[in-house]
């Protein structure tokens, strides 16, 4: 048998299973706890290594350790926006119901991670820059990203009809993802003009592995946390959207 066809077939079947709310619900009953467990294990290990094993920074002392929350949050804030835009495009092109659920459920999680990245960035800035807010390129981009998330959420909730809101939000996410790199580039350029405090650049490739390992563990753990939250929210949304359908009613009867 041609292995390529088998792999393709597998993805085809997975796609069709995920496309149906009922199948998605079944799969997510299994994946949600797995993601939750992986999140707990990875972040526990990352926290331990980051707080107790990694050496203190020779310039910043212990205050650098906030990196283990700040950087993974910042990574995820971008990653989740990409997921939203990809899911939005899939929903618009193939009219896949579940893709819209991913778009809508991802937005608040992404906004929360963006806010976390901003707050930790500001907390970090206080001892290092001596100010709570610095017009630094990364922080400014992050702030704009927060507004993109808030805009997407506001748009969805503005519509009375859920389906119209889903499609409008998907369009906005796709438009946003085209503009995000341009925003990033323009803000970089703008901040290079800005002659204020010297811009602090975190880590870089020179980071020793005792510092880097916990960072990667935390990043992976946070990603699983996103997956966990996403599946949990999506489960709720699917049950709510399909509350009039047969299988949800059967499910409720089973519980009672």
């Amino acid at each position: 048998m041609n292995p390529f066809v088998t792999v393709w077939d597998f993805f085809g079947r997975l796609y069709h299973r995920l496309a149906s709310p009922r199948e998605f619900y079944k799969i997510s009953r299994f994946t949600t706890p797995v993601f939750g467990l992986l999140f707990l294990l990875l972040t526990a290990a990352g926290t331990y290594l980051g707080l107790f094993v990694a050496p203190a920074d020779y310039q910043q002392g212990d205050s650098f350790r906030i990196i283990y929350v700040h950087v993974p949050s910042a990574w995820l804030s971008l990653f989740i926006y990409m997921v939203m835009a990809t899911a939005g495009a899939i929903g618009l092109i193939w009219r896949m119901k579940m893709a819209y659920v991913v778009v809508i459920c991802s937005a608040p999680i992404g906004a929360a991670f963006t806010a976390l990245a901003l707050i930790t960035g500001s907390l970090w800035g206080a001892p290092i820059w001596g100010t709570w807010w610095e017009w630094d390129a990364r922080l400014t981009s992050e702030l704009i990203l927060l507004f993109l998330y808030l805009g997407a959420m506001a748009l969805y909730y503005a519509f009375d009809d859920r389906k119209t809101g889903e499609r409008a939000t998907a369009v906005l996410a796709v438009v946003g993802v085209v503009i995000v790199p341009i925003i990033h580039y323009s803000v970089e350029w703008w901040s290079s003009l800005h002659q204020g405090a010297t811009v602090f650049r975190a880590g870089g490739p020179a980071m020793p592995s005792s510092m880097l390992t916990p960072l990667l563990l935390m990043a992976l753990g946070f990603t699983f946390f996103y997956g966990y939250c996403l599946f949990l929210r999506a489960q709720n949304m699917v049950l709510h959207n399909e509350r009039n359908s047969r299988w949800v009613k059967d499910l409720i009867n089973e519980l009672e």
Binding site: D160, D161, R162, K163, R167, N241, R243, N244
Partner: protein
């Protein structure tokens, strides 16, 4: 909900079909599993209580509203992005699509140009036929509701189109106007056109009777 089936004997000419159509508004399914076939020379009267999805069905057939499930075909080809279908379709909804800033004649001329024609004399002819030639050069906001409705209906006559979809065409129109529209519809049907309309009263006693099919939602 049961499946509706409407077929006409005439297999020649044009044919609009909907297969397993479903419409969801909010969390409610207005209709599900709707099948219909309408062919040349038939008038389909969509009947139903307020909120039963008559307007939604009409807007789906015109490709304006989203289709939640199922598909619609014209001459066995899906209507989405089908220019052949849209050049043969005339739709009149609750909103008349007229600009207040333009005169009656200008409004009609714009739609005429959209249909690849430019013939002011014909516009006057159509306005005369609809009984509103006197208002031709008045700004549309000065027209009465009935006059506006007649002007919107005048669009149907700009170019011959095989499919007319009319949502409540008789609302706000006097008896003479109603007779006029019914006469135009009969001419359209007799020439092999298709008419899909909603109306609160039964059409069984009117001049459309010989062509009539009913669909209850």
């Amino acid at each position: 909900m049961s499946a509706h089936e409407i077929s006409a004997a005439d297999s020649h000419g044009h044919c609009l079909a909907a297969n397993n159509l479903a419409c969801q508004r909010g969390e409610r399914w207005l209709f599900e599993g709707l099948n219909l076939t309408v062919s040349s020379g038939t008038c389909l009267h969509v009947i139903g209580a307020n909120g039963s999805g008559k307007t939604s069905l009409l807007r789906m057939l015109c490709g304006i509203s989203r289709i939640d499930r199922g598909d619609i075909t014209w001459q066995q080809k899906n209507i989405a992005g089908n220019d052949d279908y849209f050049s043969g379709l005339a739709y009149l909804g609750h909103k008349d699509g007229l600009k207040n800033e333009f005169t009656a004649a200008e409004n009609l001329e714009f739609y005429q140009r959209l249909n690849f024609e430019n013939d002011p004399a014909k516009v006057d002819e159509i306005l005369a036929e609809m009984g509103i030639l006197a208002c031709a050069d008045l700004p549309t906001f000065q027209l009465s509701f009935g006059q506006r409705r007649r002007l919107a209906l005048a669009r149907l006559l700009l170019v011959p189109r095989p499919l007319w979809v009319l949502d409540e065409p008789f609302t706000g129109i006097d008896q003479a106007g109603r007779n006029l529209i019914e006469r135009l519809c009969v001419e359209h049907l007799a020439a092999g056109g298709i008419l899909i309309l909603t109306n609160h009263q039964s059409l069984r006693s009117g001049p459309l009777k010989p062509f009539l099919n009913e669909l209850e939602l």
